[in-house]
């Protein structure tokens, strides 16, 4: 992403962002509401055209077709007559044209992902019959079925139920061995321990390559956050932006 700026609703929300995703990185994107986190995802997904600058894909590793996306909230109509299996297969549409037949292999892939996520009994179910956690799994499955090289997660904590949360983050850790993950969260407190690096987004973007704790540094990116800790609990402190 090269000196990229983007505006949303006539307002400049990202300014001069320089940033790149390394292979198998696990980036936590944090920042205040309205700071440009979702805009960043939209730019990567190609839903929004940057005002200036551009995105460059290293085509051997990544192109626009090898991105998996788990939206913040599902915009789909849960009463629409589609089955869980159909939803998973829709994750393959990114590779297919508008005239699309699902091959036997596609269907086997879908069945494999359904098994891995523990959804076998629900493959033929309607979305309206599922719990919040099960829905989350279905949409994660939709993002994963195309074997993406980059997985974008928008606030996954929002509708993961607590019983599924540990499972979910373990799953992400496992996936991270095969793909880079970019996870947006406004909730710094509960961001996964498995995150390798941080990107702080508030109009500008500051990338923190790895865990970095220095004595005097405190998390500070223009929003009032204080850190209260007694130690022991794993925590990460990032250095002040220049």
């Amino acid at each position: 992403m090269n000196s990229l700026s983007a505006s949303y609703g006539g307002r400049l929300v990202l300014e001069n962002v320089n940033f790149y995703v390394q292979e198998n990185d696990f980036i936590g994107v944090i920042g205040p509401n309205g700071g440009g986190k979702t805009t960043l995802l939209k730019i990567i997904l190609g839903l929004l055209k940057p005002v200036s600058g551009k995105i460059i894909f290293n085509n051997d590793l990544l192109n626009s077709k090898s991105i998996g996306y788990l939206p913040q909230i599902s915009t789909g109509d849960l009463n629409y007559p589609v089955t869980v299996k159909d939803i998973l297969l829709s994750g393959l549409m990114i590779r297919k044209g508008v005239i699309s037949r699902m091959s036997a292999e596609d269907k086997r892939n879908a069945a494999a992902v359904i098994d891995k996520l523990g959804l076998r009994d629900l493959a033929g179910s309607q979305l309206s019959e599922l719990s919040g956690g099960q829905l989350q799994k279905v949409f994660l499955g939709r993002a994963l079925i195309g074997n993406p090289r980059l997985l974008l997660l928008d606030e996954p904590g929002n509708f993961v139920d607590s019983s599924f949360e540990n499972d979910f983050y373990e799953k992400l850790k496992e996936l991270n061995s095969r793909m880079a993950i970019l996870m947006v969260s406004h909730d710094v407190g509960t961001i996964s321990q498995h995150i390798k690096s941080f990107a702080c987004v508030n109009r500008s973007l500051h990338y923190h390559p790895s865990y970095e704790i220095t004595n005097d540094d405190l998390l500070a990116y223009g929003c009032p956050i204080q850190l209260i800790t007694h130690g022991e609990v794993p925590h990460t402190v990032l250095k002040i932006h220049n």
């Binding site: 789909g76 629409y80 007559p81 589609v82 549409m93 005239i99 699902m102 309607q126």
Partner: protein, 271 residues
């Protein structure tokens, strides 16, 4: 002899009309019902009455006027709702009344008596021409080909438009094409069921189907079967009882819907 030939012709025309109406209404209706576009479809139907009125006045085929009005209003509402400059339900409400008003004014201004006006409001098999049947037949083929070829694309755009945009730049084009085809289907079926009743021809069969299945293509198939049964039965009753055909068809379809609901309840209690 002469009369039996006429009767035979009438029956063939009725059956073909019922078949094509069921196919087009089943395909379009399933799309409309599952995408929750019933109110929009009502707006398109009534807006197209404006085209019928202008057609009469200008001395051209009223169906052509209706088609132009129907498609333009459908595209207009889709476009406005994408832009979000105006609330969609308000836009539909305005269009609905505007179409009816235009139709009434132009029919009033047309010199002489318009004998077929009632048939546009309530539908009549007697005024359905061979051209109308042929047009419905062609429409059936177009819709079948369209839905078979683009099945998953249409399905996924309707289910989750926002997600579809992340992988396809054709979302808007498909929405416009599909909505135009829906509008055309409605207009062509107006000759059968009439402006006032055509909407139920599209919405009741999918609702009968959805009592028993929630799989999209199965809903389409059951809708066509339910629609055909209701239409043919309605024809027969209308012919022998001498009551308006559109109303009889809709009445029959609602009865089928009630019976289907009853069967479903029985299956729940006594599986």
């Amino acid at each position: 002899m002469e009369q039996s030939i006429f009767q035979y012709d009438f029956i063939i025309k009725g059956l073909l009309g019922a078949l094509f109406a069921s196919i087009t209404a089943g395909l379009a209706g399933t799309y409309i019902v599952s995408r929750r576009m019933v109110f929009l479809s009502g707006g398109i139907t009534h807006a197209s009455f404006g085209g019928i009125g202008i057609g009469y006045f200008a001395g051209i085929n009223p169906v052509i006027g209706a088609a132009v009005f129907g498609i333009l209003s459908a595209l207009g509402v889709e476009y406005l709702s994408v832009r979000q400059k105006i609330r969609e339900d308000s836009a539909i409400g305005i269009l609905w009344a505007f179409g009816m008003a235009t139709g009434i004014i132009f029919i009033y201004l047309t010199p002489g008596y318009s004998p077929n006006l009632m048939s546009y409001l309530f539908g009549s098999i007697l005024t359905v021409s061979n051209t109308d049947i042929a047009a419905l037949g062609i429409m059936s083929i177009i819709l079948i080909v369209y839905f078979v070829v683009f099945y998953r694309t249409i399905l996924y755009i309707s289910f989750d438009e926002a997600y579809a945009r992340t992988y396809s730049s054709y979302v808007d084009i498909f929405k416009y094409i599909t909505t135009s085809l829906m509008a055309l289907t409605i207009v062509l079926n107006i000759r059968m069921a009439g402006v006032i009743l055509v909407l139920s021809l599209l919405t009741i069969p999918p609702n009968i189907a959805m009592i028993f299945t929630r799989v999209y293509f199965k809903i389409v198939i059951w809708s066509v079967l339910a629609g055909f049964t209701g239409t043919v039965t309605g024809y027969a009753i209308s012919y022998f009882a001498g009551i308006p055909v559109g109303a009889t068809i809709i009445f029959t379809l609602v009865i089928i819907w009630i019976i289907a609901k009853g069967i479903k309840q029985l299956l729940i209690y006594y599986p």
